[in-house]
Symmetry: C2
Subunit: 198 residues, 2 copies
Amino acid sequence: MKELKSITKLIESFSRLPGVGHRSAEKMAYSVLEMLDEDVEMFSSALRELKANIHHCPICGTYTEDEVCEICADDSRDKTKIIVVSYPKDVYSFEKLGVYDGRYHVLGGVLSAVNGVGINDLNIEGLEKRIKEDGVQEIIIATNPTTEGETTALFLAKILEKQNVSVTRLAYGLPMGAHLEYADSLTLSKALEGRKKI
Amino acid sequence: MKELKSITKLIESFSRLPGVGHRSAEKMAYSVLEMLDEDVEMFSSALRELKANIHHCPICGTYTEDEVCEICADDSRDKTKIIVVSYPKDVYSFEKLGVYDGRYHVLGGVLSAVNGVGINDLNIEGLEKRIKEDGVQEIIIATNPTTEGETTALFLAKILEKQNVSVTRLAYGLPMGAHLEYADSLTLSKALEGRKKI
């Protein structure tokens, strides 16, 4: 007895999600069979509607359901500060803090030889245009602290050198609440390197 | 800036899946945005079709896309042996072994005071009917080795006492490849209790 076709198809789709192996996908597919009809219907339409309703903001590149995203449309946000991130979801991480009143710019990825992502695949031109037109004074680079994120940050800083703008990047160091004994050596050496007077 | 409505809806649906917390659901929802349109479309229809195409086999209670499941429809399978499981997916675990040529019966759950599942919520009547009509000789109870699975097994054995049928259940003991030092005490005591001559 083989698995039913409808189940196999759904397992395949679940397996495509990040962090979901075959066993978990199987569990998920079977759990859908036990769900209420209306919940499955909701799930199915949520998937379909997502792609139809959401697109990239033409100014900053984050996801939006409107013509221009909420932040770009908000005149009360400081136009002279831009946090540059790799992915749209990174914007939400900063917004959750509730302490930043500037704007964002989404590159749309990181430079990566392995994945064939080059300079022209990132939205750098749009950033340069905003710097000129909006009188931007500070660019805060917030790519991930990975090799590729680092490369992208350094490369971007190099490009922006010519512009009359201060370029900073997020501090590296120990995460709050961490224990020294569990910190990896790279993080610890970054924390030492970036030590501050108290 | 709040999360987009379409994303929030999808996160909610993903959160309903077993073993998926809010953070994972968030990750999954954003990954859907990066998927190809046709893959999302496939995912959405797979969900919708699952519930429409699959129902319980009227004989054994497992899932099927046909009128009667593949196993119940297969005359070459031994009608006199029935493995009794709690859930439809348990049938697949046995079928994957490829060594069992008998049939199955799905109870549809376990007795559970907490979840309000009583005798009448399990498909026991159907099993008794099959025992009588098909001349069943052996019932192998294969509920999970949990408190509720155990209770269900004992209860079922009690009911079937009156019938002229041998009732067995799966052996408990150490899983193959296990190390004694890592075995929990309950498993170890079951292994000792069920020791066999070699």
